[in-house]
């Protein structure tokens, strides 16, 4: 589930992608900061375009995202890790506003090395929660019981942005809604349902 089937339209890379120094860590602090920001938005846009929620860096370094075949430039794993690490930190910590989150333990997929798989939050669960609430309101489904599978894979949500979403991201989103008191998740493992209020 690393990358959903890539969409027909090619991903429009920003102009900085064709700028060789973009692939080398910049020594100057200000330049470095702007470089990190550009990488962060590039990664988010890429993941959004390909509907990717969890990014495995080992796999990603060989994709066009980190590997510019035309320039014959690539971002090595360590640098990719540094960028994602920067993305995980909040802006107060001098980071990229928590636009990524390392996946630890079994969720990362077996015995993967730490800091190798990360959620890329091109929409944070809180933001997804708003999208979901809007959809529920627009379709008059308050008080209706829906299965999580239905939300992610159902025919009713095909036109929605959250269709085909990673189930774990959906669960995180639903948990945000539960905390807000707008939904209740129930049912046993694998057959979770949700009721919206």
């Amino acid at each position: 589930m690393a990358t959903a089937a890539s969409t027909a339209a090619p991903f429009p890379f920003p102009s900085t992608y064709n700028f060789p120094p973009f692939f080398t860590p910049q020594p100057n602090n200000t330049t470095r900061h702007s470089q990190l920001q550009k990488w962060s938005s590039l990664i988010q846009a890429w993941c959004r375009h390909h509907r990717t929620y969890r990014l495995s860096l080992v796999d990603a370094v060989d994709t066009p995202l980190f590997h510019n075949a035309v320039l014959r430039k690539r971002l090595d794993l360590g640098e990719a890790r540094a960028i994602v690490d920067w993305m995980t930190k909040s802006e107060e910590q001098g980071g990229g506003g928590q636009r990524a989150e390392w996946i630890v333990g079994a969720a990362a997929g077996g015995n993967a090395a730490p800091n190798s798989v990360a959620w890329i939050w091109w929409r944070r669960p809180e933001e997804w929660a708003d999208v979901l609430t809007d959809w529920i309101d627009a379709t008059g489904q308050r008080g209706v019981v829906l299965t999580v599978f239905e939300l992610v894979q159902g025919e009713a949500t095909v036109s929605q942005e959250f269709h085909g979403m990673d189930v774990e991201v959906m669960m995180k989103t639903l948990n945000v809604l539960v905390k807000r008191g707008k939904a209740q998740v129930f049912g046993n493992d694998g057959g979770e349902g949700v009721k919206f209020f």
């Binding site: 299965t147 599978f149 894979q153 807000r180 008191g181 129930f186 049912g187 349902g193 209020f197």
Partner: protein, 213 residues
């Protein structure tokens, strides 16, 4: 907003609906699996034909046929499940409607009770009619009283009023008698007789209202 407080909002019906929907999801997934299988069988059949292996190709196509029959069976099951879910959800809506009707009826009944029931309204209406009849009687009695006793006085008052109204109309004739004199030296003297007349009228007028009342 813990689990304990909000889990009460999940009723047994909700759980039943979830179970139904989970079954439906499972059938969906099963259908997906079968579709993948049938696609693979077609591919196998094509491959076998290319290798001129007619027997295996037939076998693959038979398997595909069988899987397709399974698919159509699950389709009808899916329809049944969806129908049932729809019915359950509709029944819940009906329950809500019924509840609303019940509430409305209760309120209506309470209001009716406050009004004292049909007998109360009847009694009230009767009392109102009685009171009105009584009032009518009184006013009729008063009317009759007046018409017999004070008919003459009323007639007199009418005459007095008529004179009062007609009086000023007669007045303009008076100035015509003294057109030669340059200006009325004592206007008071000319008006005095008229004043006396009105005073006399006022006296009769003052008497009549007392009687009328």
């Amino acid at each position: 907003m813990g689990n304990s407080s909000s889990s009460q909002k999940i009723s047994a019906q909700d759980r039943a609906i979830l179970d139904l929907k989970n079954q439906r999801d499972k059938i969906y997934q099963y259908q997906k699996r079968i579709t993948v299988l049938t696609d693979r069988e077609t591919a196998i059949a094509k491959e076998c034909l290319a290798r001129n292996d007619r027997r295996r190709a037939l076998l693959a196509l038979r398997r595909k046929k069988y899987q397709e029959s399974l698919l159509s069976k699950t389709d009808s099951q899916l329809a049944q499940l969806e129908q049932l879910t729809g019915q359950v959800e509709f029944a819940l809506v009906q329950k809500d409607v019924l509840f609303g009707l019940q509430q409305g009826t209760q309120v209506l009944q309470a209001i009716n009770k406050e009004m004292g029931g049909i007998e109360g309204v009847d009694r009230l209406m009767e009392e109102t009619a009685e009171a009105r009849a009584y009032q009518e009687e009184v006013s009729q009695m008063l009317e009759g009283h007046l018409s017999t006793q004070d008919e003459e006085d009323v007639e007199d008052e009418l005459e007095a009023l008529r004179q009062e109204v007609a009086g000023p109309v007669d007045l303009p004739a008076v100035p015509h008698t003294v057109p030669q004199s340059p200006l009325p030296a004592h206007p008071d003297e000319v008006q005095e007789p008229a004043q006396e007349q009105t005073e006399a009228k006022a006296k009769t007028k003052a008497r009549t209202p007392v009687l009328a009342a």
